[in-house]
């Protein structure tokens, strides 16, 4: 059941312009579901980066968003309720 709704949501994200990959990981950094470029992704690094970002300012209540950009594309990361979502975008 849960996988179905996650996959539906990911299909929806994939239809956005410029998006060429989505990854979803749990709090342990293990990939729950992935599509497109996201299939190659290492979920542990995604969760790891967000854990460290949160640790920069533990007093700030809202969740940080991390964006990693290179000349080829970018990766946007955010977690919510223990689930981390990574969205890969092309640079066009």
């Amino acid at each position: 059941m849960m996988e179905k709704s996650i996959e539906k949501l990911m299909d929806e994200i994939m239809t956005n312009p410029g998006v060429n990959g989505v990854v979803c990981t749990d709090a342990q950094g293990l990939v729950v579901a992935a599509q497109g470029v996201g299939r190659k992704s290492t979920g542990g690094q995604m969760t790891g980066v967000l854990d460290l970002a949160r640790d920069l300012h533990p007093d700030v209540k809202d969740e940080p968003i991390v964006c990693i950009e290179s000349d080829a594309g970018s990766l946007l990361l955010k977690s919510c309720d223990g689930i981390t979502i990574g969205i890969h975008k092309t640079n066009s």
Binding site: Q28, G29, L30, Q45, T47, G48, D51
Partner: protein, 110 residues
């Protein structure tokens, strides 16, 4: 490097330690040769299940987790807190490629 990671122990296929790094938080049981020998045996048995060679085994206990990465002829065992980032620990293997190759080469000489 990874929060909650306490030890990395590289063993041969029988579970005999070749290289070991650990901090002071490591549980005593983890230092017993029995754990590593059993982990090595688990990898060996998993190889025989008819679904190609085993890549890694993640064993989670109440307070700790043991991650055994099969990298023939070596096994890389990593012991961490149960809530540590399993995915990040698994990705450490890529960083260890070079030293692991060196150890393999050294072992083959003997």
């Amino acid at each position: 490097m990874v929060d909650g990671l306490h030890a990395i122990i590289i063993t041969d296929r029988d579970g005999v330690p070749v290289l070991k790094v650990a901090d002071e938080h490591l549980p005593h049981a983890a230092m017993q040769p029995r754990l590593l020998a059993t982990a090595a045996m688990a990898v060996e048995q998993a190889n025989k299940l008819g679904v190609s060679n085993n890549k890694n085994i993640i064993t989670v206990y109440k307070n700790h987790q043991l991650i055994s990465i099969n990298r023939q002829p070596l096994i890389v065992n990593m012991i961490a807190n149960a809530n540590a980032n399993t995915g990040l620990i698994l990705s450490l293997e890529a960083d260890m490629q070079e030293p692991l190759d060196d150890i393999c080469a050294a072992l083959e000489l003997h």
